[in-house]
Symmetry: C2
DNA sequence: CGACCATTTGATATGGATCAAGCGATGTGG
DNA sequence: CCACATCGCTTGATCCATATCAAATGGTCG
């Protein structure tokens, strides 16, 4: 059976919705043993999942909703490291201390898995071990892509962001943006105004449509790729 | 004894100095089994060690000299991903294809290890496996630091770069820069002129001294940390 | 000594930041 | 159910940091 952890005691989850109702049913989706080892915990919009410098006792997987990981610099600037969408795993750290903070962007459900349980399972199950193995490498690739984004012009960054989001979206031509303009700006190293202006410019040249501010239709992939330099 | 590979046949090493003379003596330094599995190969300044998109058959460790890994964007811009100094391991890839190119910055000696040999050794030696394990995670941390650099002002980037280099240097107050201003600029996402100007400004305010263009003395760590925001 | 290449320095242009105001959707209290 | 406050987003005007263009300097090697 499921080995239930008393995760609500952890300081890492102090902001979880008080009406927390784990949904073990979801634990059997996706066909991996990983889903069976944790509890699904709801977090409400803008609540902290964990903080920078806290010990990294758990691993997290987005079941529904969206999460941002970020750092606050000494002067108050915020850098978003990644957006996590359903299926994404986050919270894995090299040295057992979180190097970023994580917050729920929307109300969401997160599968929370104890690291130690996963490590011991990996010792028994080579498939789990292999999958765990690939996580830092995948993160590294994303970080490297992020670096490449950050040396580009504002327009290229925004276009790159849209392409990245569309690649992660079910419908490749229509992108749902769970995050605010400020979140996008802090991910791309731009200001909210520049992000907004760039999006409207892309709309004006017919590359995209913006039916609502949180929804973008990619109208011309060719134009976008051209603008992506 | 050492199992010598016929590495000079590999396309990855086509630019190695023709007067290649492996130095197996170095193979016994640092007290790790890893040193015993490869051959030390000399590369001359600006020669390619491997190219982007080539299969990643080997792992590399800098014995002496310095290496840059980089990508060329479609419009010709170059982004340097990392500088590798003696002791650094590079060339590890998630999916067995190099995502960056690597070039010798100076004439240098590189220990070249066959991946497959290392993997099989890791299967037998848990210490080697553990060490291999940590590499992607360490790379990830460096990439994340790099991201944080790239969202800062020019002065903060240059200061951050100097602090990073001094942390990797034997003498914490004096930094040898094996790379050109252009290399630094391409690492920091700035132009060569901005890097140069920023360095002279730092010298003018007394934070550093620049006895020669490739040597920087950190005169006031406090001032640098302050400028690092 | 002279050519070459890296670096520095100078003058100007510009992309994105900043400061400021307007707009539209959402929700709340009267 | 509507008036109003709030919040997120967009738009406008101006400023500034860094890029760009250009030239001078300096160090290295033949």
């Amino acid at each position: 059976m499921l080995s239930h952890m008393t995760i609500t005691r952890s300081t890492s989850h102090r902001q979880a919705e008080s009406t927390s109702q784990p949904t073990p049913a979801a634990a059997f989706s996706l066909g991996s043993a990983i889903e069976m080892m944790g509890a699904t915990v709801p977090y409400r919009r803008d609540s902290e999942i964990y903080g920078e410098n806290e010990p990294a006792e758990y691993l997290y997987k987005v079941i529904s909703g969206a999460v941002r990981t970020y750092k606050i610099l000494t002067d108050g600037r915020r850098q978003i490291g990644s957006f996590c969408l359903p299926g994404d795993i986050f919270g894995l750290e090299v040295d057992d201390i979180h190097t970023f903070s994580a917050e729920a962007i929307t109300n969401c459900k997160i599968l929370v898995i104890k690291r130690s349980a996963l490590v011991s399972l990996a010792g028994r199950d080579i498939a789990v071990a292999r999958r765990l193995w690939t996580l830092p490498g995948n993160e590294l690739q994303r970080a490297q892509e992020h670096i490449l984004l950050l040396i580009k012009t504002a327009q290229e960054r925004v276009v790159g962001f849209l392409i990245e989001m569309s690649a992660r979206s079910a419908d490749a031509t229509e992108v749902e943006l769970p995050m605010s303009r400020q979140d996008i700006a802090d991910y791309l190293g731009l200001t909210i105004e520049t992000v907004s202006r760039t999006l409207t410019r892309l709309e004006n040249v017919g590359a995209i449509a913006i039916p609502t501010s949180r929804r973008v239709v990619l109208r011309s992939r060719g134009a976008l790729n051209r603008l992506n330099a």
